[in-house]
């Protein structure tokens, strides 16, 4: 665990207390049972915003707290642990695009509303089911945008889309010219293909040529934070279970084969945590951000993949049941592994960033 300052410790404790008491996995079960494509509860997001979580990376002059990415990551990790469904991650990623690339007017228009929770926003980049930010066909002409984005996270209920077009990032408010097609994935969260046909689009002009890359780095790191929370939770739950379950007249945790498995997973989890926290710290420091973000998401993919599988295996048959939570983590894990870069994509990116 990174060394936290007092403000960060308070924030983390508050998030942990809230998710534990107000948003345990049973809350996610209720949302899932509702079948609502939005898959998050608006009143829950309002509460999060009241606690200041929607403005953690937004400058104070625009209504945020500017606590920074490590702080945002602490909150997101806690949300990941209890599978809390909310548009906080998507909105934070989208907000970062405006912080990095918005004009003063764009910042003044959107950031305060995002910080207050009034506006939910999301990033729309990929046009195929696999992450491929270099393959974008969406175009803007005469101030209107056309193109289709696949599997956009938290698209239902979003007020603002940050859309990657061939020549840069654009702000596109939902409404005329924006059509959603629901896509139900195994994690049962909020995803849709979003079709833009002549919607008004406002370019983010102040971010430089690599604005999309910078935003995607933030998306990778914040996604990795959710994955970290999930991995930690699967690990803790599995360890508890092994200490309780009796077979062959002894608790499973006394079998050396399982002790070693858990020790290996513990080590992997430590690497994942360092990689993810390293990503957050790199963004805060503005130093080698792309490398750090790539390492963060690649390690998150590797370790959560392994842990989500082992979690089920080590629970035995009951791990396969809907009644136990561990299966939810597996399903969500694969969706996040695929989002903003599969392991193959990230390995290639790492090699390119390192000039080989």
């Amino acid at each position: 665990m990174a060394v936290l300052n007092e403000e960060q410790t308070m924030l983390r404790d508050m998030a942990r207390e809230w998710t534990t008491n107000e948003s345990p996995v049973t809350e996610w079960r209720k949302v899932r049972a509702s079948g609502d494509p939005q898959a998050w509860d608006a009143s829950v997001y309002a509460t999060m915003a009241e606690m200041g979580w929607a403005g953690i990376i937004i400058p104070e002059e625009h209504g945020g707290s500017d606590f920074g990415w490590l702080s945002a990551g602490l909150v997101v990790e806690e949300l990941g642990k209890t599978l809390t469904a909310s548009p906080l991650i998507a909105t934070t990623i989208a907000a970062s695009a405006i912080v990095l690339g918005g004009s003063d007017a764009q910042k003044a228009e959107w950031l305060p509303k995002i910080a207050s929770g009034e506006v939910v926003a999301t990033l729309a980049v990929d046009e195929s089911p696999r992450h491929a930010p270099s393959k974008i066909e969406t175009t803007v002409s005469g101030g209107t945008i056309s193109g289709t984005k696949k599997f956009v996270h938290e698209a239902h209920g979003a007020h603002l889309f940050v859309v990657a077009a061939k020549d840069g990032l654009y702000l596109v408010p939902s409404g005329d010219g924006v059509t959603l097609h629901d896509r139900k994935l195994a994690d049962m969260r909020n995803h849709a293909d979003v079709e833009f046909a002549g919607a008004a689009a406002d370019k983010l002009t102040d971010g430089g040529d690599d604005l999309l890359d910078q935003v995607l780095d933030r998306a990778r790191v914040l996604t990795a934070c959710e994955m970290l929370g999930m991995a930690q939770q699967v690990f803790d739950t599995t360890l508890d279970y092994l200490k309780q379950r009796v077979q062959f007249s002894q608790v499973l945790s006394t079998f050396q084969a399982l002790q070693h498995r858990m020790a290996d997973l513990f080590a992997d989890l430590a690497l994942m945590r360092s990689a993810v926290e390293g990503g957050l710290q790199a963004i805060d420091a503005g130093f080698l951000t792309s490398q750090a973000a790539t390492i963060a998401k690649a390690e998150a993919n590797r370790v959560l993949h392994q842990l989500s599988r082992e979690g089920i295996q080590l629970h035995g048959g009951i791990g396969m049941t809907d009644e136990y939570d561990v299966g939810f983590y597996l399903k969500r894990a694969r969706v996040l592994e695929s989002s903003f870069g599969s392991t193959g994509f990230l390995k290639d990116r790492y090699a390119r960033l390192s000039d080989y």
């Binding site: 195929s128 089911p129 696999r130 992450h131 696949k150 599997f151 097609h181 629901d182 896509r183 139900k184 994935l185 195994a186 994690d187 049962m188 995803h191 293909d193 009796v246 077979q247 062959f248 007249s249 079998f255 084969a257 399982l258 993949h305 599988r309 089920i312 295996q313 035995g316 048959g317 791990g319 396969m320 049941t321 809907d322 009644e323 299966g327 939810f328 597996l330 399903k331 694969r334 969706v335 695929s338 989002s339 599969s342 392991t343 193959g344 994509f345 390995k347 290639d348």
Partner: protein, 403 residues
């Protein structure tokens, strides 16, 4: 009928092949071509179309769904060689074997070995005709890997046993007619207190509750026995012989679960073919994503090595006349590779490979997701990978506990 079968057994292979071809031409309904064996699967209620029914009856009346089982109990009575010809011709015609399920895979072979003459005459023919579905009542909430810890009691009441307790994970319990169960007839000895009992699922006092799985399906049940009366003649073997018989049955289960059997059939299109459909290829037809290409090749090489191992195990067993040592690795390796393959398929398809329901996904994509989730069970049931490792380490490698 029996005389027809005697001819099959000894007939010249080519004559037999012709006979099979003619049988398929006359009996196999075209509409079932390339269809899976829906009824033989454990999952799903027993509804069948007219075509499925007539094909099942045709195969069942010849005993060809269970080709090598003795003809006197309704099996095909074929030699292995003749059975292989039958399978080849079925495959050529894209016809499936409509007879299957746990009765065929596990229970039948075990009963043939341990059942009394009356039991075989009663239970084997309906299995051969695909009329009766069996489920497996082994596991209990506290008897999973440690199966011998089972506590479901069968109390001797003179002419019957009175059964009380709970089983879990009863595959297809809600659709099964009968259950082969391990029960406790003696509390004083963990292994020798176990007996093998056949229970009618519609007996008063049997209750099943489906378990919902992470794949969204519920083909498994908790089964409760509350003062269920079971006639004494439903005991297989002797009282206290249940552990021996039960383990023999598990050997049949494992043979079927390892790669040689069902896994290979599950495979379908090659990963490379899937990849070519879903990801970019370069001008030479290579999968452009180098990492993915490497992983597919890595998988396929190991998968081929696995198939070769399965073949070698079969050849060695045949030559030595016993189970080959390497067959102990087949279940653990085959199930692991099956899971890896499902994971790789998802990775190839990206988010398109993670669809749950609704618009925008093909049937095959959706089935793939459910299969991926369900496949996580293959390393848990039928003796988990960890238990297989224990068996390999202790029995094959002689690495004994230090205690």
């Amino acid at each position: 009928m029996a005389s027809q079968k005697d001819i099959d057994r000894t007939s010249d292979p080519e004559t037999f092949r012709q006979e099979v071809r003619q049988f398929i031409a006359e009996n196999f309904p075209d509409e079932l071509k390339s269809k899976g064996n829906a009824l033989a699967a454990v999952e799903g209620p027993a509804t069948e179309t007219a075509a499925q029914k007539s094909w099942r009856e045709a195969m069942g009346s010849r005993g060809w769904g269970t080709p090598t089982w003795p003809a006197e109990y309704g099996g095909g009575g074929l030699s292995r060689k003749h059975a292989a010809i039958l399978n080849e011709e079925l495959a050529k015609a894209k016809a499936h074997n409509p007879i299957g399920g746990m009765g065929v895979m596990m229970f039948g072979p075990t009963l043939l070995e341990y059942g009394s003459e009356e039991q075989k005459r009663e239970h084997i023919p309906p299995i051969c005709r695909g009329e009766i579905r069996w489920c497996q009542g082994y596991s209990e909430p506290n008897a999973g890997s440690d199966l011998a810890n089972l506590q479901t009691m069968a109390e001797d009441k003179g002419d019957h046993y009175l059964v009380n307790g709970q089983k879990t994970w009863t595959s297809g319990g809600q659709w099964a007619d009968k259950c082969f169960c391990l029960v406790r007839t003696d509390r004083s000895d963990k292994h020798k207190g176990i007996s093998f009992l056949l229970i009618d699922m519609d007996s008063p006092g049997v209750e099943v509750r489906p378990i919902q799985m992470i794949s969204g399906m519920s083909p498994f049940c908790e089964t409760f026995f509350d003062d269920v009366k079971v006639p004494k003649e439903n005991l297989v073997g002797e009282e206290g012989q249940g552990w021996t018989i039960g383990k023999r049955l598990l050997q049949h289960e494992r043979t079927n679960l390892s790669g040689g059997g069902s896994m290979a059939r599950m495979m379908g299109a090659s990963l490379a073919d899937i990849a070519k459909r879903y990801v970019e290829t370069d001008s030479d037809g290579r999968i452009a994503d180098a990492v993915l290409r490497d992983r597919i090749a890595d998988f396929e090489i190991r998968w081929n090595a696995f198939l070769l191992t399965a073949r070698r195990a079969a050849q060695e067993s045949k030559a030595q006349g016993g189970v080959s040592e390497i067959s102990s690795v087949l279940k653990k390796v085959g199930t692991k590779l099956g899971q890896e393959r499902a994971e790789l398929t998802i990775e190839i398809m990206g988010l398109q490979g993670l669809g749950w329901e609704g618009e925008g996904f093909t049937q095959a994509e959706l089935a793939g997701v459910r299969g991926w989730l369900f496949g996580k069970a293959t390393t848990i049931y039928g003796g988990s990978t960890e238990i297989q490792n224990n068996i390999i380490a202790k029995r094959v490698l002689g690495m004994l506990d230090h205690q």
